[in-house]
């Protein structure tokens, strides 16, 4: 079996809305797979359906070879899950929660190791309600790993973490993957997806708008290459006829040249030919954020 997850034409609606219209993708074993999209695009519904927490309307799902609608228990025993909108009782202590969830499985790392991994050793006797948002989040992620899962779902796991904790979480996700565990990462942080994901899908309005590696998506949907420089009092209208240039924009003395492929070399050469040598000539690489904004523009994303 090479696919940890297969989703074919998933459709899921709630009483008055359709959350997922038509979603298909596959997750290979051992990869970190990202699901990106604005709020309300159907990401959470998709991962909750995969865990058998939602009854789907149509389509077929397979998780580790099991069907979530009929074999949810088989799946849940083999996966780890950190859910959105889930919590623990305020008065439960950190070690008690890990101990309780650990009792559901015969395998899995000792509580002390999970506490150390997630920086919670000093908080082992603290009550859930007294933890900071970031600490609560780290505990919920640690709970997802108590059964040494083959596949983990992280739904916006770094939301609420400070920048340093996020980096720590990224390292831990890479470590989880190095052990051979497949990771499905639902996020709306583009830098996170770019840093961690082997492949990803971008969802909008309940469908998959794009699928691929971060580099392939940036190449295809990133809006090309942008070259920026600053010049005073020059007419550079001739730049638009330079090869590979698709557009020139100017704001006061700042220029932005849009183009494709090797546009930077051609623009530099043309500028020098005109005896112009701006000292801040640079190319800006598109990021996943550009992909995201291009694919989801007009959606009124509020995330």
């Amino acid at each position: 079996m090479t696919h940890a997850i297969d989703v074919h034409h998933l459709v899921k609606g709630y009483r008055d809305t359709i959350a997922v219209r038509d979603v298909s993708f596959s997750v290979e074993e051992g990869e970190i797979f990202g699901i990106l999209g604005p709020n309300g695009s159907g990401k959470t519904t998709t991962v909750e359906s995969l865990q058998g927490l939602r009854a789907i309307d149509s389509g077929s799902l397979s998780v580790l070879g099991f069907d979530p609608s009929t074999q949810a228990d088989q799946i849940r025993r083999r996966i780890g899950s950190q859910l959105q909108e889930s919590a623990l009782p305020d008065r439960v202590k950190v070690w008690e929660a890990l101990d309780l969830f650990g009792a559901l499985s015969d395998q899995g790392p000792p509580v002390s190791e999970l506490l150390a991994d997630w920086g919670l050793s000093e908080k082992r006797n603290a009550r859930f309600g007294s933890l900071s948002g970031g600490q609560q989040q780290r505990l919920l992620v640690a709970l997802a790993l108590v059964n040494d899962p083959r596949l983990v779902f992280f739904d916006e796991m770094t939301t609420g973490l400070d920048p340093a904790s996020r980096r720590v979480a990224w390292d831990l996700i890479r470590r989880i993957r190095e052990r051979g565990t497949t990771v499905v990462l639902v996020t709306h942080f583009m830098d996170e997806a770019e840093a961690l994901c082997d492949r990803l899908v971008v969802m909008t309005r309940g469908i998959v708008a794009a699928e691929g590696t971060p580099a392939a998506l940036i190449d295809r949907f990133g809006g090309g290459v942008r070259v920026r420089f600053t010049l005073d009092g020059q007419d550079v209208g001739w730049l638009s006829s330079v090869p590979h240039v698709t557009g020139v924009a100017r704001e006061r003395n700042r220029y932005e040249v849009r183009g494709t492929g090797p546009v930077l070399a051609y623009v530099a050469s043309a500028l020098v030919d005109h005896e112009l040598a701006p000292i801040d000539l640079r190319q800006e690489r598109a990021t996943l954020e550009d992909v995201f904004l291009n694919l989801t523009s007009g959606e009124g994303a509020d995330s």
Binding site: Q51, S86, L88
Partner: protein, 245 residues
């Protein structure tokens, strides 16, 4: 079974960390018992208290009252709160069996009611000339039935009520109404008209009578049937209406 034991132990600790539930389950019944004892003494009067002294009447009655407070206030509030906060959803995603979630609540009701009931009996015996259980086995059977009834009713309320706030408000209200007219406050014989009728309809009235039957050496009356029926209906409805989220 291991998970049920773990869950029960954890829920017991959580119960004791919640001041309001401890107050209602362990402190209030004891206080009310001593107030009633102070007011009415323990002299038998053929016209009230089923013909026995007030303290002899109230001791078995308040064992039932304790089970009612855990089952009607603590349990539904905790269950609805766990659902609202997504704790139950978290449990479900980890394959926590529903019988462990519900079973732990029932077990906590039993343990807390037992501890509180024994405390009541010991306190009453040391302060008043109170009689012991006339038929201990019948008392134990009655206690098991009453605790099962109120924990089933509690699970049902916890499943039906949308939030911990509504569960707590309804639970406290039911508890006080039952306390006043169900036979745990004024003697039922002095409640007439509508109050008497309402009292007869409360589960607590019948739970109290079931407890008293064994304690006072009376024959088991139809109240046992009422409590058993309440248990069955609540348990069946709980299975039907239990929700993870």
């Amino acid at each position: 079974m291991k998970i049920l034991a773990k869950m029960t132990w954890l829920e017991l600790k959580l119960f004791l960390r919640e001041p309001l539930t401890v107050l209602f389950a362990l402190v209030l019944p004891l206080m009310v018992l001593f107030v009633m004892g102070g007011v009415f003494g323990n002299e038998a009067d053929a016209d009230v208290y089923r013909g026995v002294g007030a303290i002899n009447y109230y001791v078995p009655a308040y064992i039932a009252l304790v089970a009612a407070s855990v089952g009607l206030i603590s349990l539904p509030t905790h269950l609805a709160g766990n659902r609202e906060r997504g704790v139950l959803k978290r449990y479900r995603a980890s394959s926590m069996p529903s019988w462990a979630v519900v079973g732990a609540q029932v077990a906590v009701t039993f343990v807390i009611s037992t501890v509180s009931g024994v405390t009541l009996v010991v306190a009453a015996m040391s302060a008043y000339d109170v009689r012991g259980a006339d038929r201990p086995l019948l008392v134990i059977a009655g206690f098991v039935l009453v605790a099962l009834a109120f924990s089933s009713l509690g699970v049902l309320l916890g499943a039906l009520l949308p939030s911990p706030r509504s569960a707590q408000a309804l639970g406290v209200m039911l508890w006080f109404v039952m306390l006043m007219v169900g036979g745990a406050g004024p003697p039922p014989e002095v409640l007439t008209g509508a109050m008497g009728t309402i009292g007869d309809l409360t589960p607590l009235r019948h739970a109290i009578r079931a407890m008293q039957d064994g304690w006072l050496g009376l024959d088991a009356g139809y109240s046992w049937l009422v409590v058993a029926l309440l248990t069955l209906v609540s348990a069946a409805a709980s299975v039907r209406f239990f929700r993870w989220e």
